[in-house]
Symmetry: C2
Subunit: 349 residues, 2 copies
C-alpha cells in the first residue's frame, strides 16, 4: 500500500505537507496542492480513516440504516440527520435495506428474514467503526431491531425499538390529527367522516384518537359509520370515498394526501368539488397536495426535524459514552408535531 511518505518523496515535499493537504488545512500553495492531489489519485493512495479512528478512539462517522430510501419519508429524514451531523463535525454513511423493494408490504412479521438482512448491515457499519447508528423505519411500529446490550450508541427513528435502551423519535400523530380536526370544527363542520389507513397501524390508531379527542371536546358524538379504512393509497380509498359520499358528512379527514386524491377523483366524477360541496383535509403534505385543484389543506410531516433530533440524541449518546455516562441517561421517546398547511379545500358552513 502507498504511504504518505512515498507521496511526499514523489512530490518533493514533506510528509506533513501531504498530510495537511489531505486534511484540508490551509497555508499550502494551490500549485503544490494540485500536484500532491494528482499524485495521490494517480498512485491510488488511500488515507486510512479506520486507522485514524483507532488512534483517536473515534471515527467521527455515523452510520444510517434505512429500511428503504425509496419510502417518501426517508430522504428528508436522512437530510435532517446529515445536516445536523455535518454542523457538529461528524460524517455519515447510509446502508439501505431495501425492505419494501424486496418484499413489498409482506415482511412485517417475517422476523427471521428481516434479521438476515438487518444483521449484516449492522455488522458492516460496526466493522468500519462508526461511532453510532441511526435506524430509519418506513412506518411507525414496534421493531425488534438493535440487539440487547448493544455496545454501539443507537437511535430508532420513525418507529420504536422493543429494546427499551434505544431512544426513539417519531411524529406526534395524535396531536396533529387533533389539530386538523379542530380546524374543520372551527369552520362549522360537525359531521366529519374519516378515511383512515390500515386499521391495525399505529399511525391510524393515534390519529383516530386525536380525531376522537377533538370531537369530544366539542361534544360531538362519534359515529362509527363515518369511519372507513383503506391502504393509504388512492385506489383503495376510492370505494371508501364513494361510501362516504352517500352519508350526510360535510367534511372528510383523510389520513394521507394520496387517499384524499381518491376522494377528489370521486367528487370530480360526481360533478362536485372539494372546498365547495365537501370539505377535505389530508395528511403528509406530500408534493401532490399542492397540485390538487383546489390545493389540499393538510399536515406537513416534520421529517427534517425528526432527522435533526435523532442526530442530536445520537451525538449526546456518543459524547455521553465518552464521559462514561450510562446510556439510559439519554433514553427518550420524542414525538414531534406536524405543521398545519392551509390551502383551499375547506369551506365554512
Amino acid at each position: 500500500m502507498i504511504t504518505i511518505k512515498e507521496i511526499a518523496r514523489e512530490c518533493n515535499v514533506s510528509p506533513t505537507t501531504v498530510s495537511n493537504i489531505l486534511n484540508g488545512k490551509p497555508k499550502v500553495s494551490q500549485e503544490t496542492k494540485e500536484r500532491v492531489l494528482e499524485t495521490v489519485n494517480r498512485l491510488g493512495y488511500r488515507p486510512n480513516y479506520i486507522a485514524q479512528g483507532l488512534r483517536n478512539q473515534k471515527t467521527k462517522m455515523i452510520g444510517i440504516i434505512a429500511e428503504d430510501i425509496a419510502q417518501f419519508t426517508t430522504p428528508e429524514i436522512v437530510e435532517g440527520i446529515m445536516s445536523y451531523c455535518e454542523e457538529n463535525g461528524y460524517r455519515s454513511i447510509v446502508k439501505n435495506l431495501r425492505l419494501y423493494a424486496r418484499w413489498s408490504d409482506s415482511w412485517y412479521n417475517k422476523e427471521a428474514d428481516y434479521h438476515a438482512i438487518l444483521e449484516p448491515a449492522i455488522r458492516e457499519l460496526t466493522s468500519i467503526m462508526v461511532d453510532g447508528i441511526i435506524y430509519i423505519a418506513g412506518h411507525a411500529r414496534v421493531i425488534h431491531c438493535f440487539p440487547e446490550r448493544f455496545s454501539t450508541p443507537a437511535v430508532m427513528t420513525y418507529a420504536f425499538d422493543s429494546n427499551p435502551e434505544i431512544p426513539s423519535v417519531g411524529i406526534d400523530d395524535q396531536g396533529s390529527a387533533y389539530e386538523i380536526v379542530k380546524y374543520l370544527i372551527s369552520k362549522g363542520h360537525r359531521r366529519i367522516g374519516v378515511i383512515g389507513g390500515k386499521a391495525d397501524n399505529i399511525h391510524t390508531q393515534e390519529r383516530l384518537l386525536g380525531y376522537q379527542k377533538a370531537l369530544f371536546e366539542h361534544q360531538i358524538l362519534y359515529n362509527p359509520a363515518w369511519i372507513r379504512y383503506a391502504a393509504w393509497d388512492e385506489v383503495s380509498a376510492y370505494p371508501e370515498a364513494q361510501e362516504l359520499l352517500k352519508t350526510e358528512v360535510t367534511a372528510v379527514f383523510c389520513m394521507s394526501d394520496k387517499m384524499a386524491g381518491g376522494l377528489y377523483r370521486c367528487l370530480n366524477e360526481n360533478g362536485k368539488r372539494a372546498g365547495e360541496n365537501l370539505a377535505v383535509v389530508g395528511f403528509d403534505n406530500q408534493e401532490i397536495a399542492r397540485y390538487f385543484i383546489p390545493g389540499l389543506t393538510t399536515m406537513s410531516l416534520p421529517l427534517k426535524e425528526i432527522g435533526n433530533v435523532s442526530a442530536k440524541l445520537l451525538l449526546q449518546q456518543i459524547e455521553g459514552a465518552e464521559k462514561g455516562t450510562p446510556r439510559n441517561d439519554v433514553k427518550q421517546k420524542i414525538l414531534i408535531p406536524c405543521t398545519f398547511i392551509e390551502r383551499e379545500s375547506v369551506h365554512r358552513i
Copy 2:
C-alpha cells in the same frame, strides 16, 4: 479487540462454527446460532470486512456517491444499482453530498466548493476499500468529477464525466421527446407549444431536438413564438402557460410534470380543461401525474433501469480489472429510453 477465537471459547464451539454463523452458512443449529450471535453482540465483536477484503483483494462492496438523495430521481436509481449488485453478490454503501440541500441551484459553477465536498467522499470510500464507485448526478450535465487516471473502477450516472475514461449512463431525452410529440401529432395536433426547462440545460436542449425532429418528419414549421422556458416547477411555468393560452396552439408539450401542473392551474382558472380544450403532455411521470384530473399523459423516466445498467457497467469494469483488461475496453455512453404513459390529457382533433 475481540476475536473469533474468544467468541468461540465463550460459547464452547469451534472458531469455524462462529465464522460459519457470521458468514450466514447453513448447517448450524438454531440454538447455537442464537447463542453465538448473542455473544457476538454482547462482546461487541466486529468482523473485519476490511481485512477480509485485503486477503481476497476484493471487498465485494461498491460505493455510491449521490449529489443529493432528496432529488426525486435519485432513490429509484439507488434501488436499481443495489438490486443489481445484490443479485451479483456485491454489497453497497451510500455517501450523500447534499449539494442541493447545501447550495440550492447555485453550485454548478463553483468548482472549488464542489471539489471540497466531493474529494473527501471519494477518499472515504477508497479508504474503506470499495471495489468501485457509482456517482449519481441530480441533473444531466458534463461534470469534472473523478480525477484523471483514477485507479478505482467508476461509473457516472445521469450525467457525463469530463474524464473520457469514465463510462456514463443517462436518459434518451431526444428520442423520448420525439416519441411523445409524435403522439400529439397522431392525435391531429399540428400547432404544438412547448414549456421547456431552463434554456441552457442539456435535458431541455435534447428534448427540443426531439420535438424538432417530430415536427420536421411531419413537415410542420417550427414556430419560435410557441417555445417558452421556465425553471422546471409549477410557479415559473404558470406565466408561460398564460402566454401560450393567448396563442392558437391546440397542444402543449411540458418538459416536466410539475410545469404541466402550472398549465393545469391556468386552464382551470380560465374554465378550461386538459384533454378537452387543450391537449397537455408532461415528462418524468412523477407521482403527481396520476393525481392530476384528468390524469396526465407523460414519459416515465427509466430510473431503475439506469441504476441496473450503471451497476452492470461497474461490475464489468471491476471484473475486467481483475482479468487485466484495460478500462477503456468498457468505456461507454449509454442512453436509455423513457416509457410512454397514456392517461386522459390528450384529445383527438
